[in-house]
């Protein structure tokens, strides 16, 4: 299945999807030293985002989020790529500052088209997303 979206930050990456049907804030929801979600009671609590294709609704919260993403990038503790329904400024700048390939506004709802554990190839420069492509 191949989807078409809109570039937030260009670049290409691929990996296992982790899907979260909610709003995400790099400040508070990402632990810089481990790349896991430390937030108590969070649906993804304790799970690592490192090297994954992170699929979620949008960003939220503090405009300090991009600085957290940048600091996590220095340690390699960031997702390989990000796909969201519609980006807001804090999460878009997080992708740009940490240079994480990211797309939004796909032609289908990514929360329905992609399941946790799917293998996803992201070409954020072209805005394309391939889910479970053949030969992988």
């Amino acid at each position: 299945m191949k989807l078409q979206g809109h570039t937030i930050n260009p670049g290409e990456s691929e990996g296992e999807a982790i899907v979260y049907n909610g709003l995400f804030s790099f400040l508070g929801d990402l632990d810089i030293p481990t790349g896991t979600v430390p937030t108590r009671g969070h649906e993804l609590e304790g799970q690592s985002l490192v090297g994954k294709i992170f699929v979620f609704v949008s960003g939220k919260g503090s405009t300090a989020g991009p600085m957290i993403a940048y600091a996590a990038k220095k340690r390699g503790n960031i997702p390989a790529g990000m796909i969201c329904v519609q980006a807001e400024p804090a999460v878009a700048l997080s992708a740009i500052m940490a240079d994480i390939p990211m797309v939004d506004r796909l032609n289908v709802n990514p929360l329905e088209a992609i399941k946790t554990g799917d293998y996803v190839k992201l070409n954020a420069t072209e805005g394309t997303v391939e889910v479970n492509p053949a030969g992988v």
């Binding site: 939220k60 919260g61 405009t63 878009a92 700048l93």
Partner: protein, 415 residues
């Protein structure tokens, strides 16, 4: 994205590597939200903290291309010794590192206002000015009270604007995006009797329902003070991400309700009465018992009138030995407080008056000095203190907080 010749030169690196990186960031940011061009900014408000390498790289070979002020420091080690806070790192080494950031700011021509309320001390955008500011409380204040135009900028985007003098033309910079979607009516509230902390409570309640939408409030009194406006504006983005709040008859884009709504119909009408205010007050009051460890004022930074009020409450008295009293204010306000004798009264009583953060990142909370309870008249401090530290909150008027500083006990009555 359309670029002017000057912008093309910056993007090509002809104005140095810092300006080139900043242009790259702003163009990606603008493209992400379909901006067709950049706009020149009349000012930027930036933070010089965050990752050092980012500040260094973004300012390499650059000087400020607009009027730039700096935010109150969050992690400044400069006053730790004076405050008697013990930490597990070498304070002098940290102060030297921090000085490296200050040196960059001075070289860039950034004005080291070190405040979350730059509009009080020399950066006062006029109506329709396009600016690029970080600090949510200040963004709401200048968008709403002054009719200036800023998006909710992250520190990174505001710094890029300081370096280039540009920001993507999008969002709240465009007049058609500035109308209110949420209409707030006050029902059964005596608006004329609302105190400063009540305005914060009101803003917190509205922000939680409005989310990121623009708001118009009907029924506020024309006598609202600077401090009341400041606390209302600062609370709105604590529970949501409101960036613009019109007030009918008070703010420049809301001479009438119809003007604020763009002659359209609101998506939602919210009524706020005594029940909602009481519930919000209780939600913000997380501390139990009565022992107070820290009293903090100045989130956003205190005006001279607020500092005067604190000094009057402390005159001839002593802060309880087991309580820390912290007052955050801009440097210019502190200078005036010294001239007026207010600083001497506050410090003579055992309190601290400084330009560090007066809110959740004030040094006693930020550097973890064992504070379990904090009393404040600031809604923003009350909302964030439990998120950034283990402290729980006593929430009340300035008089209740001063009483707590003197007695070590919280005796404020719930609303």
């Amino acid at each position: 994205m359309f670029l002017t010749d000057e912008e093309k030169r910056m993007h090509a690196g002809e104005s140095g590597p810092g300006a080139q990186r900043a242009m790259d960031l702003l163009m990606k940011y603008g493209n992400a939200f379909d901006a067709e061009r950049l706009a020149e900014v009349a000012s930027a408000h930036v933070m010089i903290e965050g990752p050092y390498s980012f500040l260094r790289d973004m300012t390499e070979g650059a000087t400020a291309r607009t009027f730039v002020t700096t935010e109150a420091p969050l992690e400044s080690p400069c006053h730790l010794k004076q405050l008697g806070i013990s930490v597990d790192f070498d304070i002098d080494a940290k102060v030297r590192q921090y000085q490296g950031r200050v040196d960059i700011a001075k070289r860039m021509g950034f004005y080291l206002t070190d405040t979350c309320a730059p509009y009080m001390v020399g950066s006062l955008p006029k109506m329709h000015d396009t600016v690029s500011w970080m600090e949510s409380s200040a963004e709401v204040f200048i968008n709403s009270m002054l009719g200036a135009r800023t998006n909710r900028e992250a520190m990174s985007a505001a710094l890029a604007s300081a370096v280039t003098g540009r920001t993507p033309y999008m969002g709240l910079l465009m007049p058609e995006n500035r109308y209110a979607q949420v209409h707030v009516k006050l029902t059964g509230l005596d608006a004329g009797a609302l105190t400063k902390v009540d305005y914060g409570t009101l803003g917190y309640y509205i922000g939680g329902l409005a989310g990121s939408r623009n708001v118009v409030i009907e029924g506020l009194p024309k006598t609202m003070s600077l401090e009341q406006c400041k606390h209302l504006c600062s609370a709105l983005p604590c529970s949501g991400s409101v960036a613009l709040c019109h007030m009918v008859g008070l703010t420049p884009e809301a001479h009438t309700l119809e003007q604020a709504l763009g002659n359209g119909r609101p998506e939602e009408v919210i009524e706020v009465g005594t029940k909602e205010m009481k519930q919000t007050w209780e939600d913000l009051s997380s501390a139990r018992g009565e022992k107070v460890d820290l009293v903090t004022f100045g989130c956003p930074h205190c005006s001279i009138a607020e500092v005067a009020g604190i000094a009057r409450g402390l005159e001839g008295k002593r802060v309880h030995p087991e309580v820390k009293l912290f007052v955050g204010a801009p440097g210019q306000v502190i200078f005036l407080a010294q001239r007026m004798g207010f600083a001497g009264i506050i410090e003579g009583a055992g309190g601290f008056l400084m330009d560090d953060c007066g809110g959740p990142a004030n040094p006693f909370l930020y550097f973890g000095s064992g504070i379990k309870t904090v009393a404040t008249d600031s809604t923003k401090a009350a909302a964030y203190a439990p998120r950034v530290s283990e402290a729980q909150v006593f929430y009340g008027d300035m008089a209740d907080c001063i009483d707590a500083a003197l007695t070590g006990k919280w005796r404020g009555e719930p609303r």
